[in-house]
Symmetry: C2
Subunit: 346 residues, 2 copies
């Protein structure tokens, strides 16, 4: 587990003016802890209100949907225990963990109980009363992106989900329905449709540059290979999103059609969200692996701004772990719940 | 295991004039055995060339993709052993088994070896040299449908696949790519798109009668329920095809759009097949659970005949097990292979 103290460069976005909810020096300068438990790593940040990061710790994947609830609780608890040890003498006011794959209240509750029971065994009695909150990682990202204010966040990675925070602080969601009945505009959906187009070409359908791109990228040169890759090797289909984007960049009409279709579907989803409540500050931020692809990002932001006139597309103000830190801070202001909650439901 | 001797009424289609490849009395009036190993049951038919069925036996599901190769080989072997016992004194010339879920040559080979080794232990030495052939169930259905002549067969059940036999006896396939990158026009695809439309309605998208139909049919009245049904209970999505068809029958525009989209995609697939070889007798037969739905069947046949002018849509001439019986017969005419083969590849 890598430990970095006061490494402000890890904060991808400019946080100097955004990190703290206000610049007033609080009377009790205690420490708040934010955790972002994601699919590839888990990050912890500890800081007082008026200071820069005291501690920045990293652990492995903490997504319970991937590693199970036991391991997820272990990873998160390990980081909290390390923070308590490092910050000996300092008082931790609260901890908030945003956890990927824990969108449902009962999953959050399960995880919360797991963390609480582990902490009971592992931290000194004096520190045991620290309140811990478990929420979905999309909510900490939204909190971080707009610093607790209004806007719409569109996440397009392996899956897709769009989240809005209204002017009155209400949360709305669209999408996030997973690969079987949702994920329009995601890496998964693009990859699946790319392979589908290759299957069609094998069947006598429109020829596409995706066949050559797929052959060049791996071992798919026959029908048998294609079956093998999808059903036997169970290759994550999002891996093929890049060849679809490559094909569209190269002007292949089939790939272009796939990208256009998915950008349109995702844009529609965001518009439903915007229509459901007019009291949203007209700004959108794009997150996720696919949204970081310049070609896709440009297409998506153009499509969104064309449909939502007067809106702006902006970078998130902070990285997600800072959202968790901010929510930990809120917990002691009587605004947050110590426990679990329904993170992403509208 | 149910045993029915000489039950000709089990042969759903009129077989009096179609059952036998020719009406000439062969010199060696030996017995041929056909087996249809499907997802719900396995059926065996034994008959001489010039007589009606001597034996019609039934066993449980024999699809290795569902029950595994061991159980599949057991089910098929059990039926062959029973047939040998029942037909004591008669000479079995050959056995052909059409097996669902065994489209790949190596799976067919594995199954063939499993059946051969079991037969070695279980039947008298004198009967051991009976040649056994394993093929895909779609091929026996095609053989049965057109009695070994040319035409296109479209199967639309849980999945979809289209198969053609050309005038020169070549086989062509389109579709059959499974639920992740194929199955356009299938029960699975209709069901998945139906639930997707319900998800969209929850998100603020177009309202649809599918929400009420889904609520009336089960327990889906909330977002949480929808997730639960798809990802936790892992309900087979093809179960929801019927509500989509119901919705389309009732005139719901969203359901109507889903049915229209899938009929068009499946029609396109069949046209690719027809375009790949002009030497196909212009006739189509529709098989599979979804194709048996009158509304869907009418829509699909209309769409096909609109695109393929001069073609006819007909009932299959025989039920699939008769195709296996016919192929068993071919094996002793030097036309078939005793062993495994690539059943469904073009």
């Amino acid at each position: 587990m890598q430990i970095c103290c006061k490494r402000k460069d890890r904060n991808r976005y400019d946080t100097t003016s955004h990190f703290f909810p206000n610049n007033s020096m609080p009377s009790n300068a205690r420490i708040y802890v934010g955790i972002d438990a994601g699919g590839s790593k888990t990050e912890l940040v500890a800081a007082k209100m008026q200071e820069e990061e005291l501690l920045n710790l990293f652990g492995p994947c903490g997504n319970p949907a991937r590693v199970g609830f036991k391991d997820s609780a272990d990873v998160i608890t390990d980081l909290i225990v390390q923070a308590v040890e490092r910050l000996q003498g300092e008082s931790i006011a609260s901890v908030c963990a945003g956890v990927a794959g824990a969108g449902r209240p009962k999953d959050q509750h399960l995880l919360h109980e797991g963390i609480r029971s582990r902490l009971k065994d592992r931290i000194p009695t004096s520190a045991r009363d620290v309140p811990v909150r478990v929420t979905h990682d999309s909510l900490i990202a939204l909190e971080a992106a707009f610093e607790g204010e209004s806007g719409i966040m569109v996440i397009s990675g392996t899956g897709t989900v769009s989240l809005a925070r209204t002017n009155s602080g209400e949360f709305l969601r669209a999408g996030g329905w997973g690969y079987l009945i949702g994920d329009e505009g995601s890496g998964y959906a693009l990859g699946a449709d790319g392979l589908r187009a290759v299957a069609h070409a094998f069947d006598g359908g429109p020829d596409t540059a995706l066949c050559d791109l797929l052959a060049a990228s791996g071992d798919v040169t026959s029908k048998e290979d294609l079956f093998e890759v999808v059903y036997k090797k169970k290759t994550p289909l999002q891996r093929f999103a890049r060849i679809v984007i490559q094909g569209a960049c190269d002007g292949d009409p089939v790939a272009e059609r796939i990208v256009r279709k998915h950008i349109a579907l995702l844009t529609e989803q965001v518009c439903w969200l915007a229509d459901r409540c007019s009291a949203i500050r007209p700004r959108i931020t794009l997150l996720g692996g696919l949204a970081n692809n310049p070609f896709y990002r440009k297409r998506l932001s153009s499509a969104l701004l064309e449909r939502l006139s007067g809106w702006e597309c902006m970078q998130p103000l902070n990285r997600p772990v800072i959202g968790a830190w901010r929510m930990a801070n809120d917990m002691t202001q009587g605004e947050g719940l110590a426990g679990s909650e329904q993170g992403t439901s509208a």
